[in-house]
Amino acid sequence: MATVTDTQHAPHSHKPSGLSRWLTATNHKDIGTLYLWFSFTMFLSGGVMALCIRAELFHPGLQFFQPELFNQFTTLHGLIMVFGAIMPAFTGLANWMLPLMIGAPDMAFARMNNWSFWLLPPAALLLLTSFAVPGGAAAAGWTLYAPLSTQMGMGMDMTIFAIHIMGISSIMGSINIIVTILNLRAPGMTLMKMPMFAWATLITAYLIIAVMPVLAGAVTMVLTDRHFGTHFFNAAGGGDPILYQHVFWFFGHPEVYIMALPAFGIVSHVIPTFARKPLFGYTSMVYATSSIGILSFMVWAHHMFATGMPATAQLFFMYATMLIAVPTGVKVFNWIATMWEGAMTFETPMLFAIGFIMLFTIGGLSGVTLSVAAVDIALHASYYVVAHFHYVLVAGALFSLFAAIYYWFPKMTGKMYNERLGKLHFWWSMVWFNVTFFPMHFLGLAGMPRRIPDYALQFTTFNEIASVGAFCFGLGQLIFLYNMLVSIKYGEPAPQKPWEGADTLEWQIPTPAPYHSFTEAPDLEVAENGAIRAIKGGQHH
């Protein structure tokens, strides 16, 4: 560079201290940390609501909560887990890891990055305080279907505005991710070489930008139907409640991939690392991810088989849904092929990744079952569906997040986590997860509907089992919290590369990752999936 004038450096690029470090952060690592802690807090609050649900369902009849409150718990549990826990956790990881993996100095828009984060606590506050307003929180289910959502009290309006704010947050976060990947990759880090995690977050971010505005439109129509006299979802004025479902699920189906693709990205790093083999079929992984980015817009009405759509539409959405299982299947086979004849070891991240593959596949298969329109008409809105999506969301998204946290914990904190506690956390979660959710398949097949506080007597035993499982599962998450807190403070110092098989860029820099990494872009020689062959230059401080 001809002249490196001082104006090119931010005036104070050293580490700020105290509270203002977090409030005014422009550092991707700090902001990533904020995201992760926030999402864990939300995970616990959503988890408490889940336990309230499970406590009520332990026995038939009403024991603890009135049906109105029960419905508020289900609704807010879903909303908080989706928008408060899973999505921000992935954004937080992307914040932490993307710049390190592709050799960028930070996220492309560091200030906006902080705004994306700080919009989340106000939105969460709106959601949580809505329990206290007259009429309580929204109780229409996380899908906020009209005409339920066009009735209800003020809690629904708070939910609507919270969704607007979270939408703005995730759109800005996604713009940041896309621009960082497209514009800030270090020389040599080409698109068809970059890590799968980068690919996954890239496609995810694109999906978010495409569908969060549609959700904003949907809830805006609910708002105007509620307060400004429109009839979008009311036949009296020429509208239709089914219209809500179309608009919502045009958002909603891509949303499930928004929670799944980053998980695929994470697993595509953890499996090769601990199998000590390069990822099998990197290129096909990229194409599978990209094709999901297109196909996921063409399947939304598989959530609406029970609404009386024309048979041709049912057939179309049924086959399109089965088609989208193909790229997902490609990935599962690629991961298995990666492990094949690998020199595998089973540290905690690997355990969670393998657990992910097994359980996500079960969730995927129950999904394919549900995609058969004739079957779905029987199983729609039953506990079978609850079982299905918890296999992909808890054992899928959440397990992959645990894998990621354990995997990158040394790089983030400079300390090793406690392996024994990590393994305990895994096995504990694995067992109790299945105890909780596997019986729900049977409940659904036997006809127990979801979103009810009371049920017929013959469902009692399986509900008891599920409730016991849920409480144990929930308790087990405290092992994780304890492990994190103690290890951050007292953990063994971690080496630069604690995992023998890890080969992406973040393992080439010191541990813990320096506050500012790659302030000068390094020159890289890269193999598939972001594996670093040679590295020249690149400064940190």
Partner: protein, 285 residues
């Protein structure tokens, strides 16, 4: 020596309080709006507070960015980031409008025809489907639709012309012809303002003489929601262009360095295209 495309250093701003201020603003706006729509007076106070904080933040934040730009901290890479960022932002706006266009197509091709067909005769015996509707199946309000070839056609002309004037201004900017730049921008802002004035007159006409309101069923709601959100975007676009004009007058841009101008122009073209779709599907067909 390296070209700017091989620039190895990227500007990372120092800590800033504006994001936090912006979050506070949105919290006030969200809570304020929720209270207001439920008729609670305190909501208005919060809304006002939220807007004030938001405007304060916008001045502060954009002020910082402009200062950084003038100090020369942005180079090719930063500029490229801004361009990508604006492009994806506009894409998100496109999808927001897509939701409302989707609703429009749905009521026109599915729900209204179905409500008028034989299966709904028991429920709504007197309703016959048509577009534009003169009334809803279950509401008593009668209204008239807005004619395409009056003010809306003039507005189409205004916006199309403004698309041309902003391009003229752009040419003026890259060729260093300041007069053309200033004049083109000024004309664009004036055309935007005239569009808004005409739309205001049109709304007044629709509300008072055609009896067309937001609650007038499928036609009224899609009409007002689509043209209303579009109008808000024209308002925003006009304000942005006006700010850019002020910055031009202060000599902020040169033929290489004028991202803000281009972003405003892209936004303006986007608003323009949405209007064309509105004209065809809301007013005309």
């Amino acid at each position: 020596m390296m070209e700017s495309s091989e620039q190895t250093h990227y500007f990372v701003p120092s800590p800033s309080r504006w994001p936090l201020v912006g979050a506070a603003a949105l919290f006030c706006l969200g809570l304020g709006a929720a209270l207001t729509v439920n008729g609670l007076g305190s909501g208005k106070v919060l809304l006002a507070l939220g807007f004030t904080i938001l405007i304060w933040m916008l001045f502060g934040w954009f002020g910082d960015v402009i200062r950084e730009s003038l100090n020369g901290v942005y180079h090719g890479k930063e500029d490229m980031s801004f361009r990508w960022g604006m492009g994806w932002f506009i894409f998100s706006e496109v999808m927001f409008f897509a939701a409302f266009f989707g609703a429009l197509f749905y009521v026109r091709t599915i729900s209204v025809p179905e409500l008028g067909d034989i299966t709904h005769k028991l429920l709504y015996p007197d309703f016959s489907a048509a577009w534009p509707l003169a009334t809803g199946p279950g509401i008593t309000q009668h209204y008239e639709a807005v004619a395409a070839w009056g003010l809306p056609a003039i507005n189409t002309l205004l916006l199309l012309t403004s698309g041309a004037t902003v391009t003229l201004a752009h040419w003026g900017l890259i060729r260093g012809q300041r007069r053309q730049l200033v004049l083109g921008l000024l004309l664009t802002v004036l055309l935007g303002a005239s569009f808004l004035t005409l739309q205001f007159i049109e709304y007044h006409h629709a509300l008072t003489e055609l009896n067309l309101t937001l609650s007038a069923g499928a036609y009224g709601m899609t009409f007002y929601m689509l043209t209303g959100f579009h109008g808000l975007h024209v308002l925003l676009g006009t304000i942005i262009l006006f700010v850019v004009l002020l910055r031009v007058l202060r000599g902020h841009f040169d033929e290489h360095n004028h991202f803000a101008f281009e972003a405003a122009a892209w936004y303006w073209h986007f608003v323009d295209v949405v209007w064309l779709l509105l004209f065809v599907f809301v007013y005309w067909l």
